[in-house]
Symmetry: C2
Subunit: 151 residues, 2 copies
DNA sequence: TTCACTGCAAATGATTTGCAAAGCA
DNA sequence: TGCTTTGCAAATCATTTGCAGTGAA
């Protein structure tokens, strides 16, 4: 049974990041954040919406993904030069990329090399990157472990 | 002064990977491998060719980049979801990505965490990824350190 | 009412493809 | 000669944009 009550918390969350809680944004937020962490593309989210009888255009899906990303609710993952992936897990963590299927999965046990929490890439930086230009700072460190089947 | 003698070594190198040494491939190889390591996009290589009075179509540039990559002469670097970058350095190494300008640079001192030579990602794998599916192997580990100016 | 948001369709930009002409073995 | 490769233009694919209509405050 579908819960049609206005989701007070979701409304508040959107307002908190400066986004109007429109029907489309609430519905997409529910799809994105209502079922644990996962990874989506614009196309896959659009499909999910259709399967859930959510009326929303592909353009709005793109807009929403970008707005959510700008607001810090999503994180963009660059693993494939042909499409953009978005991750509902915005914490510092890394990814597996399954080359055969194009799927993404979180690396749950983040290797300790990535540095202490709150210091993205600190360890890597201290080990080998002493030649970082002085007027530059690390925005973030992306690690993608690409896997292929041994078949 | 331009050396117009047939480049015997370049011809041999192409033959060695099963590619016919055509005029276009030889010219692009010269641009790519004749001046130290660097990073190109199809568009940037096409421009370089034009500036060097090399007659080659953009389609052929794309074909050639993919052929060279398949042959192991180039390595594709995924840092930007809007274009493809290719690196003439095919050794295990990592990248800086300058978010402001879209430029790429090699990280020269590869942090030792990446594992011993010949064992891509060995160290990372041994530290944290014990839950790797048994029928999967690490194709490679990509690390991109994204930088932004502090301005 | 007012301004943000949405949806559609057209535009864009990178990349790929079909196919005839040109080039290498 | 026979199979590759090239170049052009058209096709594709993901994504963005223009703009009129819709909705939230």
């Amino acid at each position: 049974m579908v819960d049609v009550r206005p989701n007070v918390e979701a409304v508040r969350n959107l307002r908190a990041v400066g986004l109007r809680p429109t029907r489309q944004r609430l519905a997409l937020a529910q799809l994105l954040f209502g079922h644990g962490n996962h990874h989506v593309t614009a196309e896959s989210l659009y499909e999910s919406a259709q399967n859930s009888d959510i009326k929303v255009s592909l353009a709005t899906v793109y807009n929403t993904l970008h707005q959510f990303t700008a607001a810090g609710l999503l994180r963009q993952v660059v693993v494939d030069s042909t499409r953009s992936y978005f991750d509902t897990n915005v914490d510092e963590h890394q990814h597996f990329f399954f080359e055969d299927t194009g799927e993404i999965a979180d690396i749950l046990e983040t290797p300790e090399i990535l540095g202490a929490p709150g210091e993205p890439g600190a360890r890597i930086n201290s080990i080998g990157l002493m030649d970082l230009p002085s007027d530059m700072e690390v925005s973030r460190v992306d690690i993608v472990v690409r896997l292929r089947s041994t078949a």
